[in-house]
Subunit: 213 residues, 2 copies
Amino acid sequence: MQMIRIIVVDRHELVALGIASRLADQPELEVVGHACSGVKLLERLRETQADLILIDVSLHEMDGIDTVRKLHRNYPGLKVLAHSALTEIEYVNSMLIEGASGYVLKDGPADELAHAVRTVMNGDTYISPHAQHSIANGYRFTEKRMGGEYVGLTKREREIIRMVALDRTNREIADALFITEETVKTHRKNLMTKLNVRGVAGLVKYAVDRCWV
Amino acid sequence: MQMIRIIVVDRHELVALGIASRLADQPELEVVGHACSGVKLLERLRETQADLILIDVSLHEMDGIDTVRKLHRNYPGLKVLAHSALTEIEYVNSMLIEGASGYVLKDGPADELAHAVRTVMNGDTYISPHAQHSIANGYRFTEKRMGGEYVGLTKREREIIRMVALDRTNREIADALFITEETVKTHRKNLMTKLNVRGVAGLVKYAVDRCWV
DNA sequence: TAAAAAATCCTCATTTGTGGGTATTGTGAA
DNA sequence: TTCACAATACCCACAAATGAGGATTTTTTA
């Protein structure tokens, strides 16, 4: 029987421990490592062999979505399964489009994870019921991007949204980045359009969810 | 040797599993139960005996701070140890004032948790170094409340902050609660004063951290 | 290299948010 | 039964954000 080697990427080691203990009764599944961020994962992958990466969206340094993008480019054969507490369609879509083969929610039943891992290793896709529901409901505020195409943020936009979430005013952001207030306003506008939110609250929640603050 | 019975309160069962597995090599510590919310904990306590509650700040239904307040009233002999990823002084202070005997951060070293549990069961207080640093630095924006007194939010204020975090406008909140827009503004103002933040971003982060959205 | 994407700056009208106040109820605790 | 506080409501002045236009320059990438 072929062992399935899993690396868990989660900002809390406790979660990795919990996963390992939950998968302990699955003889063919083995957690061979843990990384607390995307950057750490890429380092670890240079020394540790793995068949599947179980990765959260919310990570420091480089979030899960960016990490999956890189994984897909550098390790095409490696299977990726997203594992998060976030049900928002934005995250589910992004993960799948970047190359994940599934999306499992953290508060699902105890046997769901093992099932998802097997499904994915079998070449199929597994998405938790709640996450599917989220996809079915579509975007919250507009009908845009219903096709599901992923709109990534630019570097500059990430800088801006991060500072917005840190409660900085446009003036402060402008000064910090050596640009005019008008430019900051434009970026905020674009951010809100891309993320389909109406105001600051949506921007802050987005940044918090992805551990950018 | 007296066994120390621990109930873990965390919105993710995986974390409880992880804690149990981390404490597995501590012969006198035993995780006897898990609850995913404050409400569930109070239910469980009616049937399960415990010596110590290990509880997170971020919980659904009733957050950790409110839960500790209730615990302290209903089970005076029960020890409570806060266990969270949040380092903000606001949360540390609140937990301690409500009756917790310590505050351990989730990303601390592997042996810190067991040490903290023993310290607390010994009648002392344990606070993670980072959290102590947070206390030492005081509040972010103003010099108010430096004494550390905890300012709780009222029911109405919680309703308001929740809706603010859900990206609702003042107009919408007013309509939903059958009050005028001016009243909503007043509540927001009071909230920002109480929480020592300057704008929406702070309010949203507060609500997100405590699982109110 | 030419086209596309990103970043920059601008105006103007409108809405929302912020920071000071003040005042009237109702409720619950000392 | 006071007394404090929560919740409600209103006022004003000013700052900030939003929405809808347009435009230019740099950087990337196909």
